[in-house]
């Protein structure tokens, strides 16, 4: 396979020859009869798992199976925010490792993911929330995560378009994590895919898993739309479809699948140079490098596998955005989508062993899986390669529900699901 790095030299050479010489960044191989490891799910988490299996554990006989195309699910359809403002120390350690791996991504994989650490701002709208903001500042700093409190004057300077004195949701202040920000989401999938492919890993697209062949408590083969593929062990990173795969493998998960919507305006001139959330009004906001305003919602009510949401959620998001930024009222929505996310009772991920002895799972990231992709891959790879939880994943096993040792970030950091 040819090395096709996007260097200045290769860009110049390809540009002068009409860009006809570019080759595909990864192969599209037919599946082999058997692999040492088969990973189900070619989103960010699945591809990162393959990469870390090869890089950290020297395992290269791997297939990544993807029902559609890689990064065509939630990895390529999200608000692209990254941050690590979680409360429990085990959560903060895990999410901050993800952020650090993202900070090193370009060096490690020679792929520009356009990480923009423009600052992650959480808005607070009343006196009680301001008290919780001080609480949040303290636990973030105790966890060694950068954080500062902004008052209304500082916010006005940082975000000129924000109407902090709006009558409906007045803004009293905010917490800023400067290292938070945004990433070009597709690039994460592409970077890991190219890296994994160069390690000899087969990325098999348009390959849907239909069922498993079992011997005792082990899976020996996977029945797919492209034939039966043998395996020694299986990794599962399929987000909203985790329960579907678990059903096939014969166990249950504490997961409900829900629809999460986001939407994008037409491109406008630069007006918002932070990524932000207003938890009380239910909107995430940032502006892409192209100028589009990205607006993320809270969950639609009810379980859903239908990748489209209801108009009420769109209305709520747009109302909140326009109330906070009256100027946004002039922009039109351009695109809108709904993705299926895997919600668990304590809003923390489930990583590692399952009741099937050679099947390992990475799920339960809910609405926040994108920011965790590198560490999700790192932890699942460790479980597959060593049959033990990664040190960062020890508190995040499926057995925590039986042992009643939840890591309740839903209550702790007040995350949005």
């Amino acid at each position: 396979m040819g090395w096709q790095d996007y260097s200045l030299l290769s860009l110049a050479r390809q540009g002068l020859s009409g860009n006809r010489g570019w080759k595909q960044a990864w192969r599209s191989p037919a599946p082999k009869k058997k692999y040492q490891v088969v990973i189900i799910g070619g989103g960010g988490h699945g591809l990162a798992t393959a990469w870390y299996l090869a890089r950290e554990h020297g395992i290269r006989d791997i297939a990544v199976l993807e029902k559609g195309w890689i990064g065509g699910g939630n990895t390529g359809r999200n608000t692209t925010n990254v941050r690590s403002d979680y409360m429990f120390s085990e959560s903060a350690a895990m999410y901050d490792k993800a952020l650090k791996l993202y900070e090193d991504f370009a060096r490690e994989l020679n792929f520009n993911i356009m990480l923009s650490q423009r600052g992650w701002v959480t808005l607070f709208h009343d006196q009680h929330q301001m008290e919780s903001a001080r609480h949040k500042l303290n636990w973030m700093r105790c966890n060694g995560i950068d954080a500062e409190i902004l008052d209304r004057a500082a916010l006005a300077k940082l975000i000129p378009g924000l109407r902090a004195d709006n009558p409906r949701w007045p803004v009293l202040g905010a917490v800023l994590q400067q290292r938070g920000g945004t990433i070009r989401h597709d690039a994460v999938a592409w970077g890991y895919a190219r890296g994994a492919d160069r390690m000899g890993i087969d990325i098999i697209q348009n390959c849907e898993v239909k069922g498993f062949t079992r011997e005792g408590d082990r899976i020996t083969a996977i029945d797919t739309s492209r034939g039966t593929i043998g395996c020694d062990s299986v990794g599962v990173a399929v987000a909203g479809h985790s329960s579907v795969i678990a059903d096939m493998a014969g166990f249950r998960l504490p997961v409900t699948s829900r629809c999460l919507q986001a939407m994008v305006s037409e491109p406008i001139r630069p007006i918002l140079d932070v990524a932000m959330i207003s938890p009380a009004t239910g909107v995430y906001l940032n502006q892409t490098q192209k100028g589009e305003l990205v607006m993320g919602a809270m969950l639609d009510p009810g379980q859903s596998y239908g990748q489209r949401g209801g108009p009420r959620t769109v209305q709520k998001v747009v109302e909140a955005a326009v109330e906070l930024f009256p100027a946004f009222g002039q922009a039109r929505l351009m695109r809108h989508w709904g993705g299926i996310v895997d919600i668990v009772p304590d809003s923390s991920p489930i990583i590692g062993a399952t009741p099937v002895s050679n099947l390992y799972i990475n799920c339960g990231w809910g609405t926040g899986g994108f920011k965790a992709i590198p560490v999700g891959g790192l932890m699942l790879a460790h479980a597959i390669a060593t049959n033990r939880p990664h040190p960062l994943a020890e508190k995040f096993g499926l057995d925590r529900f039986r042992d009643n040792r939840l890591v309740d970030e839903g209550a702790a950091s007040g995350i949005a699901h």
């Binding site: 479809h241 329960s243 579907v244 249950r252 998960l253 504490p254 997961v255 409900t256 699948s257 009510p301 009810g302 379980q303 859903s304 596998y305 239908g306 209801g310 108009p311 009420r312 009772p345 529900f401 039986r402 042992d403």
Partner: protein, 100 residues
């Protein structure tokens, strides 16, 4: 947008007037003293998450306040049955699967 006719007050209610209550028919272990950890885990945390027909409970929260039961398809959002809380779902799987 989910629209459900409440089987108690007979009004058509939209998402904004309803509260979703998760899976229907979850039974607390009859004798908590002898239920195993596995039974408690099932009851507290494990959930049916079918890609297809799902039995769930909703509350007419901005209307009459009653909880009721719904059978809904989680991909198409088609509604097959809406029942009062003390009624049992009828098994219509075979009869209507083709039409759904």
């Amino acid at each position: 947008m989910i629209l459900l006719r409440c089987p108690y007050c007979r009004e058509m209610r939209s998402e904004a007037e309803l509260t979703w209550g998760g899976e229907a028919g979850i039974m607390r272990p009859a004798d908590p003293a002898i239920a195993s950890d596995t039974e408690w885990t099932e009851y507290l945390f494990m959930r049916t998450n079918t890609k297809g027909w799902l039995q769930e409970q909703w509350c007419c929260s901005a209307g009459c306040g009653q909880w009721f039961k719904v059978e809904r398809h989680t991909v198409s959002h088609q509604i097959r049955q809406i029942l009062r809380f003390d009624e049992a779902f009828s098994d219509v799987t075979i009869a209507q699967e083709g039409a759904a």
